[in-house]
């Protein structure tokens, strides 16, 4: 059986808890280890919050999050109609080599996402951002 869960949320921070619960249940059903549940929740939170805070535009109505489990890989698609934004190109890499005093606040979200998934793709289509992440099952 392949399984796909789609969540459609309002762009409000409070919706995060419902997503967390839904991802946990999906992960239980797929028998993911707890680490993987954490990581999947993390990448969804980072990209979801970015849309709510940075991507906010007059048009932004809903954020759609779809998890598709097939065999050993999980595909996550996040779709929104906020400002066009390509996380594979437009977010600068944070400078992690400076000391605490010089260290910038923020700018870690997309960096974390890039480091936790196996594949990250972006396309703008029909006035919407489509970010696709693939994660192979963690053992």
């Amino acid at each position: 059986m392949s399984r796909k869960l789609s969540l459609e949320i309002d762009p409000r921070v409070e919706e995060l808890s419902a997503i967390t619960a839904a991802v946990e249940q999906f992960g239980d059903a797929e028998k993911w280890p707890p680490d993987m549940v954490f990581q999947i929740n993390l990448v969804i939170e980072e990209l979801g919050l970015n849309i709510m805070t940075h991507g906010k535009s007059e048009d932004l109505e809903k954020i759609e999050i779809t998890l598709t489990a097939e065999g050993e890989s999980l595909t996550i698609e996040i779709v929104d109609n906020g400002h066009p934004f390509d996380p594979t190109r437009e977010a600068p890499e944070p400078d992690l080599d400076v000391g605490l005093r010089e260290r910038a606040i923020g700018g870690l979200g997309i960096h974390i996402v890039r480091n936790l998934v196996d594949n990250l793709r972006y396309r703008r289509q029909g006035g919407r951002n489509h970010v696709t992440l693939v994660k192979e099952r963690v053992r």
Binding site: L42, L96, L100, G106
Partner: protein, 112 residues
């Protein structure tokens, strides 16, 4: 999320429990600011029971570390779970915030 504070001599020790995410990172940061007294220089945060953290929560760690550094003190963390540790590594936090396997190790190293 819960923050518990206690003292061991001159060391302030806090335990963070549960999830620190975009819905409560601000509260978390405020609880820490409130726990830190004027004379505190060393804060050891025990993360054994921290089950989740996102970049919103990392921001709070950085603010607290900078605050303590500003007065000649420091933030030290201990007892990170594997996944929390991975997030700290990815974020380069392990290079700027001393990280220890256990509370006793942290106290032994920085408490003197």
């Amino acid at each position: 999320m819960e923050v518990h504070a206690e003292r061991e001599g001159k060391i302030l020790i806090t335990r963070a429990e549960g999830r620190v995410d975009g819905t409560n990172a601000r509260e978390f940061e405020e609880a820490l600011h409130a726990a830190i007294g004027e004379d505190d220089r060393l804060l050891i945060m025990d993360l054994q029971n921290l089950s989740y953290i996102s970049s919103a929560g990392l921001r709070a760690f950085l603010m607290i570390a900078k605050k303590l550094q500003g007065r000649g003190g420091k933030l030290v963390v201990c007892s990170l779970t594997d996944t929390i540790n991975e997030v700290f590594e990815i974020s380069g936090f392990s290079r700027i915030i001393p990280t220890h396997a256990s509370r006793s190790e942290a106290v032994a190293k920085h408490g003197g």
